[in-house]
Amino acid sequence: MSSDPQSVAEHAQTAAQALRSAADAAQNYADQMAATAHAVSGGAIDPFIFRLAIFVLAVFVGYYVVWSVTPALHTPLMSVTNAISSVIVVGALLAVGVDLVNSEGSGWAQAFGFFALILASVNIFGGFLVTERMLAMYKKKG
């Protein structure tokens, strides 16, 4: 492989283009799938029902997965569930990104979002890192 900057830049560009087209393709597939799903459901079912279905199924998945967690790891289980429940950060991100100029909402929304973002970040970093720290301590004999 040649190392002059120009060809490196070209390589990077081709790679970026390939990635871009892969993303486009993925998006197309996703749209098609959604269209099919929409057609199958006749477009009549409220999205709430789908969400509820996912929720109910996830409760069952959670039930079986959590029962299979070894009791020795129940403390890390709590700290990792803590970390993942901070995925609520997506709500905070939407709120921080509120477009005040086009009056999408009031400044309150952004302020709340910012505060929520700080809290959720404490949890994300703190939760995953402390779990990692604990799990690193579990060692086998010898």
């Binding site: 749209d31 709430f48 929720f55 996830a58 409760v59 998945v61 959670g62 039930y63 959590v66 070894t70 009791p71 020795a72 790891l73 129940h74 403390t75 890390p76 709590m78 700290s79 990792v80 569930t81 803590n82 993942i84 901070s86 995925v87 609520i88 950060v89 997506v90 709500g91 905070a92 991100l93 939407l94 709120a95 921080v96 990104g97 509120v98 005040l100 100029v101 929304a109 952004q110 709340f112 979002g113 910012f114 929520a116 973002l117 700080i118 809290l119 970040s121 404490v122 949890n123 703190g126 939760g127 890192l129 402390v130 990692e132 720290r133 690193a136 301590m137 060692k139 086998k140 004999k141």
Partner: protein, 466 residues
């Protein structure tokens, strides 16, 4: 774009499931944790790609938010002592709860950004989801703050019993339901904050009457609540990752609460209604009588254990308080050098949160395959020469099997009485948190080692080294 984003959120939800799945064994657990981190990164990047910061101000806020929060979180994770994990987890729960309230609040003030309608005309379903998310979030927030204060010893662990507390709680609950209904019909901002205020008060009142030793249940329960709050917000946002995670965390916390309740043979309702520990302890201390016990020295203990074939160590919360885990492992190492078989037996409710003892022992470099759960080791006490009980009491009390009038009757216990010799490391003759006298202390084959758990173990170690 929206469809691709939805699929990516689904991917991160699946990665979260794998994160929990990894915890089924210590060897796969770290991989699981990484899956969790990847899932979180995907969710964050997808959200940012879907709605890039609209202004320079938003961008600055994003960087600041991640910076301040992430820095604080990383600092806490690195600095916290393992004995303080229950406090840390309670603190983290409170953050999730408050974040849920705040996100619901921003959705109310900027419904367009969340795609749930326009100000003053938010979809009815979203109003319900939002108010439920905010209510559970607020209860989780104040409840966890109280749990944190109790666990951290900044507030007395004793249950605080308000007169008429059940009536107050029922009234607040009814008020909450009314406000939610009103909010659903009107979408009024005032009612939203009324819901939040009432829920904050409920959170305090629900946890205040629960005694310090019931905290394993409380911490698990709040874990569950934080999940349901997240799920509520997930419905508002129509976000797959959040709905799946909320459901996972909600059921995880519920299962842990169930396991903890079973470990104490108490119904979930009776724990929630609170008041355990305080009154009972007062009764028991009244009938305390001076009976002879056999007291041993560190040398006696060292001699007996060194000549044993099998020693089972039963650690409890007292070991954690005294930070005796490292000294304990040293003692076990010396015993193993002498060819003694050493195992650890963990009761489900040892410590202040599920699995707490296991983490403390792991921290002291005790290999996890020497540590056993109650049902796996209970039959082995009969073949053990010594049961070394350190900082535990109620979980070994045979009254749980024989005395129907005992408050701990029916609780599964570790059968330490079946070992040839039982050693209790204790500060004094006081009874456990349940306030029950332990008959084992007065038996012939029991030896009491009085003193601070760490100091006692250290002197045993010294005696062994001679």
């Amino acid at each position: 774009m929206a469809n691709l984003a939805a699929l990516l959120y689904l991917v991160s939800g699946v990665l979260f499931i794998l994160a929990l799945r990894g915890l089924s064994h210590p060897t796969t657990s770290r991989q699981g944790n990484r899956y969790g981190m990847i899932g979180m990164a995907i969710a964050i990047v997808t959200t940012l790609a879907l709605r890039p910061p609209s202004s320079f101000l938003s961008f600055i806020l994003l960087v600041l938010g991640f910076g301040i929060g992430g820095g604080a979180g990383a600092y806490l994770a690195r600095k916290v002592e393992m004995t303080k994990m229950p406090q840390l987890v309670a603190f983290f729960h409170s953050l999730v709860g408050l974040a849920a309230v705040l996100v619901a609040g921003s959705a109310l003030y900027a419904p367009q950004a969340f795609g749930i309608g326009i100000p003053g005309d938010i979809h009815a379903a979203s109003l319900i989801e939002m108010s439920l998310g905010a209510a559970i979030g607020a209860i989780t927030f104040t409840g966890s703050v109280i749990a944190f204060l109790k666990l951290d010893g900044r507030m007395a662990g004793k249950p605080i019993l308000l007169p008429q507390r059940h009536t107050i709680n029922v009234a607040l609950g009814a008020g909450l339901a009314l406000f939610i209904l009103g909010f659903f019909l009107s979408g009024s901002e005032v009612l939203f904050w009324a819901i939040v205020l009432v829920s904050l008060a409920l959170g305090v009142l629900l946890i205040v009457p629960i005694g310090g030793a019931d905290m394993p249940v409380v911490v698990s329960m709040l874990n569950s609540y934080s999940g349901w709050a997240a799920a509520g917000i997930g419905f508002t946002l129509g976000n797959m990752a959040l709905i799946i995670t909320g459901a996972l965390v909600g059921s995880s916390g519920a299962i842990l609460s169930y396991i903890m309740c079973k470990g104490m043979n108490r119904s979930f309702i009776s724990v929630i209604l609170g008041g355990f520990g305080g009154e009972d302890a007062a009764v028991a201390s009244g009938k305390a009588e001076a009976r002879p016990v056999k007291q041993g020295s560190a040398d006696d203990a060292a001699y007996i254990m060194q000549n044993a074939q099998k020693v089972i160590i039963v650690p409890g919360y007292g070991m954690a308080v005294a930070q005796a885990q490292h000294a304990l492992r040293e003692m076990a190492d010396l015993l193993k050098e002498e060819g003694v078989e050493v195992k650890y037996a963990i009761h489900p409710v040892a410590g202040r949160m599920p699995g707490h003892m296991n983490v403390l022992l792991a921290e002291a470099n005790v290999p996890y395959d020497e540590v056993f759960e109650l049902e796996d080791i209970n039959t082995e006490f009969a073949q053990a020469d010594v049961a070394f009980v350190i900082g535990a009491n109620d979980v070994t009390n045979p009254a749980a099997k024989t005395d129907k009038s005992s408050p701990i009757y029916g609780m599964p216990i570790l059968d330490v009485e079946k070992a040839k010799t039982v050693m209790f490391v204790k500060r004094g003759m006081s009874s456990g948190y349940a306030g029950v006298e332990n008959e084992l202390f007065f038996k012939d084959n029991t030896m009491m080692l009085f003193g601070d758990a760490k100091k006692v173990v250290e002197s045993v170690v010294k005696a062994m080294a001679h």
